[in-house]
């Protein structure tokens, strides 16, 4: 094996980790280099910072950082991989939350999951908008196409058959008030429901509560079917 290539790969991974950390800081509204220093666990951070700057992935100005277009793209990819991996692990393999992070970190790098595979996972999961912790998953090409070729594991409530039991995985709504209202009635990720009917309105049972809801709302509730028995 080519020693140089392996070494490069390791460095690439470190760059990925750093970009990921910076992205997450930005999500929290922090853009200071000082915060990056606090957050990053890289043993040789200064060297790494020099590399990302010289490769024009990160721009710094007066102690604050920003992504270059290339850096933005690359960070977005890493985040997308990481968070989709978290969804995959928690939904499909039902891995416990504690171990989620470690496994997801392994899967976030380009050399592990190719773009095509990532898009397939995304489709399989029903193009989830957020990771299990509620953070946004950057959209990919597949989300725009929204292909149905692959039968998704997680699908809108409208696809569930009548009488089926399912667990709510996520609710994809752009209306804040809608999420609030649904959650006040117990319709939140993690709740399990049974679908009673689809016409004239949807009728579901959560716990001992029976709820009628409009089809438009049902479309936005994504569920994973549960096996009986």
């Amino acid at each position: 094996m080519d020693y140089n290539k392996v070494r490069d790969q390791f460095e690439e991974d470190r760059i990925d980790e750093l970009l990921e950390a910076i992205w997450m800081l930005r999500e929290e509204g922090e853009t200071r280099i000082a915060d990056v220093r606090k957050r990053s666990e890289d043993p040789n951070l200064e060297q790494l910072l020099t590399i990302v700057e010289s490769e024009h992935l990160i721009l710094t100005d007066q102690g604050r950082f920003s992504f270059s277009p290339d850096g933005e793209k690359r960070a977005e990819n890493v985040i997308r991989r990481h968070r989709l991996a978290e969804r995959l692990l928690s939904e499909v393999f039902e891995i416990e939350e504690k171990q989620l992070e470690d496994h997801a970190c392994e899967l976030e790098h380009t050399h592990v999951l190719s773009e095509v595979v990532v898009d397939s996972i995304c489709t399989f999961l029903g193009h989830p908008p957020t990771c299990p912790h509620g953070k946004a998953i950057p959209r990919g090409e597949c989300c725009k196409r929204f292909s149905h070729d692959l039968k998704p594991l997680v699908a809108p409530l409208t696809e569930l058959q009548i009488g089926g039991d399912a667990r709510i995985v996520f609710i994809s709504s752009k209306y804040h008030a809608r999420l609030d209202r649904l959650s006040s009635l117990g319709i939140v990720p993690g709740s399990t429901l049974r679908l009673h009917q689809k016409q004239p309105t949807y009728l579901i049972k959560i716990g001992e509560t029976e709820l009628a809801l409009d089809g438009e709302l049902a479309k936005e509730i994504f569920v994973k079917k549960m096996q009986h028995g």
């Binding site: 999500e27 929290e28 509204g29 957020t130 509620g134 953070k135 946004a136 804040h176 008030a177 809608r178 999420l179 609030d180 209202r181 649904l182 959650s183 006040s184 009635l185 117990g186 319709i187 939140v188 990720p189 993690g190 709740s191 009673h196 009917q197 016409q199 004239p200 309105t201 009728l203 716990g207 001992e208 509560t209 029976e210 709820l211 009628a212 809801l213 409009d214 438009e216 709302l217």
Partner: protein, 655 residues
């Protein structure tokens, strides 16, 4: 409704009953105070506060019944009422009523009460229903977990009320607490420093603000400086920016998780009693196919009871026998003896006399119809059929910019539009409330009017009845559809609790019907008398003839009716059912042909129901909106009548 009573008692003795919708708060309220607040098996029945007093250990307590809420962050007007009483009033103790089988949802409110720092006792109502479903809750353990008193109860059987009374004198603060994670907790801390003093904890207000409660803004701006409000806005923005999902949703999720965890610890499941007939019936009533025969059967029974038994048999009994044979001749006789003056004699027993017209009409004609309708409505309400009806008609209502929930005001409107306009508050957005108010005022005939109309049409032909009904329904639909397009604002989502089907409790229905009849008569009879007096006066001073002449082009020319119909329309401005009664007597005198009957009835049906309705419209929607609705309705009513008359003539239709 009785909020004024609250002012004249000393502070520190107030008890507020809160809880999710349809968990039986009003039943508990009634048992504590002996006062009746409308009880039904329909979420959102209580839309205003009802206050009553209750004596415990010689201490007078003031108990308030509040509209049900799923969270103390208000999403509709009735929910604001509940939050505000906790926010502004000095509440000694909160009685939280929860549905035992949906304990998790109740605990979400317990968590918020604990956050507010209010002492409360948790009543687990409908304990029996949970048991029937195989749910067993360890109340003692629950009390230990949440750190306050927990009382199992079955409200309708008065179980648990004694224990509740005894607990009212003890203030117990819950130990429930949630931490919402570093970012939110920091936000709470920063907000707390800026918030004014209030009855509830700063932490709870901070959480409401974070959850996006816009209804708090006016409250805040009255108490703190604009610059502090600015700071608050910045903190809120800053915290929200760190989350992808809305904060209200994040906070709710944390509460739900906590509540579920508590439930897991105290609840055990066993085999329930399985499906019962009532639960099967409940399912059929919403079924896309079986729901329709159920609906038709309900309509048929309603018609037989209200339309046949009430409007025909009882009316005949009262009007012809009681008033026609006894009261009116007897009263006329007395008047002949006692009142020498012809003028005053006419005032009481003449053509437009208070006894012969107003009282005969209101007692003999209206009372049986209104009474039977409210009785039937009470059964529908308490059985839990109405929410299922909401499911069945949701799609039709959706086309009118409304949703299934509007079924309650619309069906209640068939009883009394004024009462129904008040319940329009169950709709979440202003746009929906305005549409419901408009449609009620425009096209939904109240039971009094419906009785008169059906009586009149029954004498003509079935096709006349059909044409009248079709046109009114069509008008409601078209106006609803158009106003949903024209009016600005949003429609809310349809997510709706379906309560289980229950066998109605007779005493509750009787009580409810009596209080509704009481309200109806109190509101209607004075107007009948005023209307009669106006007609009487106009008749005596010759004003009727003048008005008839002025209205001639419209009434005679455009609508093709006899000039005397003006009288009916005139009185229809006061109460449209009374107007319809005027038309009825014209028809009985043989002055209207079948075409004219239909035209005049369509026109009067589309009038504003009554003056009381108008006042409620102003109160609920504001003066300008109410004025706009009225300015639209009256010309529109005549327009539809005129077009119908034109259509009859054009196609040579003779009914």
């Amino acid at each position: 409704m009785h909020g004024h009573a609250a002012k004249d008692t000393k502070a520190g003795n107030k008890i507020a009953i809160v809880g999710n919708p349809n968990v039986g708060k009003s039943v508990i309220f009634g048992l504590l105070t002996g006062r009746y607040a409308t009880v039904s098996n329909y979420p959102g029945t209580t839309v205003t506060l009802t206050t009553g007093s209750c004596k415990v250990d010689g201490e007078d307590l003031l108990v308030t019944d509040t509209p049900g809420v799923n969270t103390l962050i208000p999403m509709s007007e009735d929910e604001v009422v509940t939050r505000d009483i906790l926010l502004n009033d000095e509440v000694k103790l909160v009685v939280q009523v929860a549905d035992t089988k949906n304990l998790g949802r109740g605990l979400q409110i317990s968590i918020q009460l604990a956050e507010m720092g209010l002492p409360f006792v948790l009543v687990l109502n409908m304990w029996d229903e949970a048991g029937n479903r195989g749910l067993d809750i360890n109340a003692q353990k629950l009390a230990g977990t949440i750190g306050t008193m927990v009382i199992p109860a079955v409200g309708v059987e008065r179980k648990g009320i004694k224990e509740l009374r005894e607990s009212l004198s003890v203030k117990r603060y819950s130990s429930l607490k949630i931490t919402y994670g570093r970012i939110i907790e920091e936000g709470i801390k920063n907000l707390e420093e800026l918030l004014p003093e209030s009855q509830i904890s700063g932490r709870s207000i901070a959480l409401m603000l974070l959850a996006g409660d816009a209804s708090l803004k006016p409250w805040l701006s009255k108490r703190i400086t604009p610059s502090d409000i600015n700071k608050i806005d910045n903190i809120l923005l800053d915290v929200q920016n760190r989350f992808h999902e809305p904060l209200g949703y994040v906070i709710n999720q944390a509460r739900i998780k906590k509540a579920e965890k508590i439930v897991e610890g105290v609840m055990s499941r066993s085999q329930g009693k399985g499906t019962t007939i009532t639960s099967k019936l409940g399912r059929w009533a919403m079924h896309p196919i079986w729901g329709i025969p159920v609906l038709l059967a309900v309509l048929f029974l309603m018609y037989e009871f209200v339309g046949v038994f009430g409007a025909q048999i009882l009316v005949e009994l009262l009007e012809d026998s009681l008033f026609g044979n006894y009261i009116n001749p007897y009263m006329t006789l007395i008047a002949e003896r006692l009142i020498p003056d012809q003028f005053f004699k006419d005032l009481f027993v003449g053509e437009y006399g208070i006894i012969t017209m107003a009282l005969t009409y209101s007692i003999a004609l209206i009372l049986p119809i209104v009474g039977t309708f409210f009785l039937a409505f009470g059964v529908l309400e308490d059985s839990g059929y109405l929410p299922r009806l909401a499911v069945m008609v949701h799609k039709i209502f959706k086309l009118m910019g409304l949703h299934g929930k509007a079924v309650l005001p619309m069906v209640l409107g068939l009883g009394c539009d004024t009462m129904a306009t008040l319940t329009a508050r169950v709709m979440e957005t202003r746009k929906e409330r305005v549409i419901v108010t408009l449609l009620l005022a425009l096209g939904v005939p109240c039971s009094a009017q419906l009785g008169v109309i059906l009586g009149m049409l029954g004498g003509v032909s079935a096709s006349a009845t059909l044409i009248w009904a079709l046109i009114v329904i069509l008008v409601i639909f078209i106006v609803g559809f158009l106003s949903s397009k024209i009016l600005k604002g949003e429609s809310s989502d349809f997510v709706f609790d379906i309560p289980p089907i229950r066998v109605p409790v007779l005493s509750n229905i009787v009580f409810k019907t009596l209080s509704r009849i009481n309200w109806y008569l109190k509101e209607a009879v004075p107007l009948f008398i005023v209307g009669t007096l106006i007609l009487f006066t106009l008749d005596k001073i010759g004003g009727l003839a003048v008005i008839e002449r002025i209205a001639n082009p419209v009434v005679v020319g455009f609508l093709g009716l006899p000039g005397k119909a003006t009288e009916a329309f005139l009185i229809g401005f006061l109460r449209r059912d009374y107007g319809a009664a005027g038309l009825f007597s014209l028809a009985q005198q043989g002055l209207l042909n079948p075409n004219q009957v239909v035209v005049s009835l369509v026109t009067i049906t589309l009038f504003v129901p009554c003056v009381a309705n108008l006042l409620v419209m102003i109160k609920e929607c504001g003066f300008r909106t109410a004025l706009a609705i009225v300015a639209f309705i009256f010309p529109f009513a005549f327009l539809v009548g005129g077009v119908l008359n034109f259509g009859f003539n054009l196609f040579g239709i003779k009914l």
